[in-house]
């Protein structure tokens, strides 16, 4: 009995020694590893919420005099609230719709080819900017669903597209810029578009890349058009929760009050219109058309308050509509080409013939996975 007891005590001692050894090894390992930067951080791992404008490749040494940039706040989290339902390519959570998203590499490559071809053809003549716009399902989707089998990782998609672009292309990644504001009203709930506030944050990122100072929101006059029920409302078979809580279209007018917009419609008629049109009386599904007269094949906005003859052309589908008003205060002329409907053959010929300095591609990630739409874009580039 005694011998058995002693043997048990000896065994217990051995276990305690082993446990102590493991703890010591773990402490030493943690101390060693915490002194190193993780390889993911060094390479700017796309899952790391480090902003794109942070230069992660710059070696930081203790002797470096420049003060270290304070680490940015982590993104805010979004929880699932409400019942969930799937309709074809739409996923609904309560009163909010999200487009399901799959990254298509072959189409993304064609998109990058179109942009690169444009930049190559215009080298020395015009600068090319690219803003791939994430969908709400990449930004405001509840965290528990981000990256699941219905929603490919849009930050990773953006990263892949950016990596395909030539160095001469001014790439403006938007994922981080929008994730920093993901709990604000930057996407509609009942429609697939971003709001003018989302577009404003993209405009700020564009200004950063171009090296110009953006206007603050308080500089603008704002209009609001309530009662918007967009494409998600229709695709969810007019869901009751969405009907009970329609969107509000916010629209910020350019600072200038002198700019004039002329658009050419699909019938070839040219009409003068307002940059932000009063959408109060528009049908519930049409209120996004407040921006630049909606989806027109070709639009020209002249701003007499900018007299330096600066010109840009925005190549867009509908996400570009909410973005264009912010550019008006920075150029003498803003041309807008909706590549889906434009009758012209060659974007580069247009740029050369009109003395355009900046070409700005504003294209959403859903378009960048569509063989039909990117085929249309390729047709003109």
């Amino acid at each position: 009995m005694n011998r058995r007891h002693r043997r048990r005590r000896r065994r217990t001692k051995l276990w305690m020694l082993a446990a102590a050894a493991i703890v010591i090894v773990a402490v030493v390992l943690i101390a060693v590893l915490s002194g190193k930067k993780s390889p993911a951080t060094d390479s700017g791992d796309i899952s790391d919420p480090v902003p794109a404008d942070t230069n992660v490749d710059q070696p930081v040494t203790p002797e470096d005099d420049t003060p270290e940039e304070p680490p940015k706040e982590p993104y805010q989290t979004i929880a699932i609230t409400g019942d969930q339902e799937q309709y074809d390519a739409l996923y609904r959570i309560g009163d909010t719709g999200f487009e399901m998203y799959t990254y298509v590499d072959g189409v993304a490559q064609k998109y990058a080819e179109a942009v690169n071809r444009t930049a190559d053809a215009l080298a020395g003549k015009a600068s090319v900017y690219v803003l791939p716009v994430p969908l709400s399902s990449g930004i405001t989707l509840p965290d528990a669903l981000l990256g699941n089998n219905l929603f490919d990782d849009q930050a990773a998609a953006e990263e892949k597209i950016g990596a395909m672009l030539n160095a001469s292309v001014h790439y403006v990644p938007l994922n981080d810029a929008l994730m920093r504001h993901r709990t604000e009203y930057i996407y509609f709930r009942t429609d697939h578009h971003w709001t003018a506030l989302g577009a404003y944050y993209a405009y700020r990122a564009f200004c950063g890349e171009k090296g110009i100072t953006p206007h603050e929101l308080r500089d603008y006059t704002k209009d609001e058009f309530a009662g918007f029920l967009g494409s998600f409302y229709r695709d969810s078979n007019q869901n009751d929760q969405m009907a009970a809580h329609p969107d509000v279209v916010e629209a910020w007018h350019p600072v200038t009050t002198e700019a004039m917009l002329d658009f050419t419609d699909t019938g070839g008629n040219t009409l003068r219109w307002k940059i932000i049109y009063d959408a109060t009386d528009y049908e519930a599904g049409m209120k996004y058309n407040t921006f630049i007269a909606g989806d027109q094949p070709f639009t020209v906005i002249n701003n007499p308050d900018v007299t330096d003859q600066s010109k840009c052309v925005v190549v867009k589908e509908s996400f570009g509509n909410a973005f264009v008003p912010y550019l008006v205060d920075h150029y003498s002329t803003v041309y807008v080409i909706d590549y889906r409907y434009w009758g012209g053959d060659s974007l580069t010929d247009f740029v050369r013939e009109n003395g355009v300095q900046d070409v700005v591609f504003v294209n959403n990630l859903s378009a960048i996975r569509s063989s039909y739409l990117i085929g249309k874009l390729q047709d003109i580039t």
Binding site: A89, K110, S318, R340, S366, S371, L373
Partner: protein, 152 residues
């Protein structure tokens, strides 16, 4: 043993005959079929012919494919594609690519040009042997008749 070999030889011969039968495809003049669709089917908008490289903007064609295609010069979803592939497998691959293209087109039209989305629901898409034919028009019945007549 001898009887067994004879049986196997007969079976092999039969299989080869059946196989050859399956390989026999109706010889179709793809260009003529595309022309017939363009001329006999009613289209609302003017159609523009796509060059081979323009068609590749929309679809990845398997190597050795001979294709003729037209798209609306306006904003309608009207289009024609007649493709003769190098093999039946290639034709199946191309048909799947066309289906995916149509799904992308449908999503776009549903959002922005709903009347065109309705037209796309009547798209006629056929694959027989090495041929893939697509025709999007409100006049789907005529398109179907022509395709059936030519491809059998």
């Amino acid at each position: 043993m001898k009887r067994g070999i004879t049986f196997l030889a007969s079976l092999l011969a039969l299989l080869l005959t059946v196989g050859c039968g399956a390989q026999t495809a109706p010889e179709v003049d793809a260009a003529a079929l595309a022309q017939a669709l363009r001329q006999q089917v009613s289209f609302e908008s003017e159609l523009r012919e796509l060059s081979a490289s323009q068609l590749e903007n929309y679809l990845v064609l398997p190597n050795g494919t001979e294709a003729y295609s037209y798209m609306s010069a306006g904003t309608t979803a009207e289009e024609i594609l007649v493709a003769k592939c190098a093999s039946e497998d290639d034709a199946r691959t191309l048909k799947a690519a066309v289906e995916s293209f149509l799904a992308d087109q449908r999503q776009e039209m549903q959002r922005y040009l709903p009347e065109e989305a309705a037209r796309l629901t009547h798209a006629v898409l056929a694959q027989k042997s090495v041929y893939v034919v697509l025709c999007v028009s409100a006049d789907a019945q005529t398109a179907e008749q022509i395709i059936k007549e030519k491809l059998g």
